[in-house]
């Protein structure tokens, strides 16, 4: 009996949370005009969310690209097809690894930071204080951060892919003597701007939306204690990871399955 009781309770709680988070999202969308009128706020947030994630994304991109290059050469050489290395590295990065890995890194670094910051503001009553001063915290605090995440992640994903392709070049061409012309020319002929690159960017825009929404909501909804904030940051990272991988599957099936 208790078992069914707890299942029911958990389902109702999850539904309630989903409802709250949807209302939260629609409130954010209503407030999005505000940060556009206050560029200073927005730029501060792009710095904290995007610029501070740059090195993490860049170095990860470089190493992922280099590993792709190495593994690619090892595998392709069994078919005598090393000249296809460029296509392999570029396709993997632009379609999948670029958007997904940069989103996961972003969720871990920027997402958890956002959750902790908002949660702490809630705990120290800064959000209530702002409400009392008749300043809507959704407009002043939440909306700029949402817009910043929405702008930053696709940029970070593009950086990841570009740096990764260079990494593949360094590993394959410089270190393992793949032909430099073949690397770039085969890549150019096979990677389509609209099908591959634009789709990859669309993916990372959708990821940005989801991650920033989750991160901000978990912070806003957190129990205002230190244990509550730590739970909230964990939830952000875990839920973001699930959502990214789920949506990656759905989007890949939609975008690349039918061509």
């Amino acid at each position: 009996m208790k078992f069914f009781h707890s299942i029911g309770q958990i389902s109702l709680q999850s539904l309630a949370k989903l409802g709250r988070s949807t209302l939260f999202l629609s409130a954010i969308i209503n407030s999005l005009g505000y940060p556009l009128l206050r560029p200073k706020l927005l730029i501060r947030q792009i710095y904290s969310v995007g610029v501070l994630s740059f090195w993490l994304v860049a170095i990860s991109g470089l190493f992922v690209g280099m590993v792709l290059g190495l593994q690619g050469v090892y595998t392709l050489s069994t078919f005598g097809a090393e000249s296809s290395l460029g296509i392999m590295v570029a396709a993997s990065l632009v379609r999948e690894l670029g958007p997904v890995v940069s989103a996961l890194l972003f969720a871990g670094r920027a997402g958890s930071a956002l959750t902790a910051e908002i949660g702490l503001m809630k705990t120290t009553e800064q959000l209530s204080g702002m409400e009392m001063m008749a300043i809507d915290p959704l407009k002043y605090i939440i909306a700029p951060r949402f817009l910043a995440g929405f702008i930053s992640l696709p940029l970070l994903a593009a950086l990841f892919s570009a740096i990764g392709i260079w990494g593949g070049y360094i590993a394959g061409v410089e270190l393992l003597n793949v032909d430099v012309g073949a690397y770039w020319s085969q890549m150019q002929s096979a990677i389509d701007f609209y099908d591959d690159i634009v789709n990859g960017i669309i993916k990372s825009i959708i990821f940005a939306w989801i991650i920033t929404w989750i991160a901000l909501f978990e912070g806003y909804d957190a129990t205002p204690t230190s244990a509550g904030i730590s739970r909230a940051t964990t939830k952000t990272v875990v839920n973001s990871a699930f959502a990214i991988l789920l949506f990656d599957f759905l989007l890949t099936a939609l975008m690349f399955g039918t061509s």
Partner: protein, 261 residues
């Protein structure tokens, strides 16, 4: 003039307010006191519209707070100042910017004018020299005074203090008590103090409501309460360890408890 009529509010099973009614007279200091956990902070949040009551109404200047549109509620809040227990200063801004914040957001005054206003408010609380410090560099008492200056930034008509005296050293206490009374007088504010520090509050309050278990257990001027017939009121006002609120948590007979195995 604030009137609370037949207010009821419950959190889960806990009935925090059970059909209470009270009035706050304008330009006076009204104190709401009671044991810890009786929902005094909740009452402030209900008055400011952050929480909605289950039944009953709160009228401020003839307007029902909870029936106002968002825009009108925000307009009303600009006439209210609130001092949170922790000060609730924005941690990434300096003291100056914290106080300038509501002015910048709600008015289009030029920076030179804002500077004058900020310095005036800081001077009123005696912290004009601290204007460039960050909140993390302030002591608890100083943070509260800065928060007070910020609450006064838009020249409100009323101001609410949430536990202003808790955890302060004697000197800070003296400063705060003096400030609350002086500001109320000079600025003709309506002040509501929520506290359980009897001595300090009774020294400056014009009228006191005592809340307990969701109901009003006593009300009156400080003198009336000190000479009250109610044993509970006497125990609370004088801080007696035993009385209607017993010292011993209900337990079985002492001898039986010791000798039982």
């Amino acid at each position: 003039m604030i009137s609370i009529n037949k207010l009821s509010f419950a959190r889960g099973d806990n009935k925090i307010f059970n059909n209470i009614s009270l009035t706050i007279q304008p330009h006076k200091i009204t104190a709401i006191m009671g044991p810890s956990g009786t929902g005094k902070t909740t009452l402030l949040k209900l008055i400011s519209g952050q929480l909605k009551p289950d039944s009953g109404s709160i009228m401020i200047n003839e307007q029902n707070v909870h029936q106002l549109s968002r825009k009108n509620l925000y307009a009303l809040r600009q006439k209210m100042g609130m001092l949170f227990q922790s000060g609730a200063l924005l941690t990434d801004m300096s003291v100056y910017d914290n106080i300038a914040f509501p002015i910048r957001e709600h008015t289009a005054l030029p920076e030179s004018m804002i500077r004058t206003l900020v310095l005036m408010k800081l001077n009123a609380v005696g912290l004009r020299g601290a204007k460039d410090l960050m909140p993390s560099e302030l002591s608890g008492g100083m943070a509260r005074r800065v928060a007070m200056a910020r609450a006064l930034a838009l020249d409100p008509e009323m101001i609410m203090y949430d536990e202003p005296f808790t955890g302060q050293d004697p000197i800070s206490l003296g400063v705060l008590v003096k400030l609350i009374a002086t500001l109320n007088q000079t600025l003709q504010l309506t002040s509501i103090i929520v506290s359980h520090d009897v001595q300090e509050t009774a020294a400056i309050a014009d009228y006191i409501y005592l809340l307990s278990a969701g109901k009003i257990a006593g009300q009156g001027t400080p003198e009336e309460l000190y000479s009250s017939d109610s044993a509970w009121v006497q125990q609370f006002m004088q801080g007696k360890p035993d009385g209607p609120v017993p010292f011993h948590y209900p337990a079985q007979d002492y001898q039986n408890d010791l000798l039982a195995h």
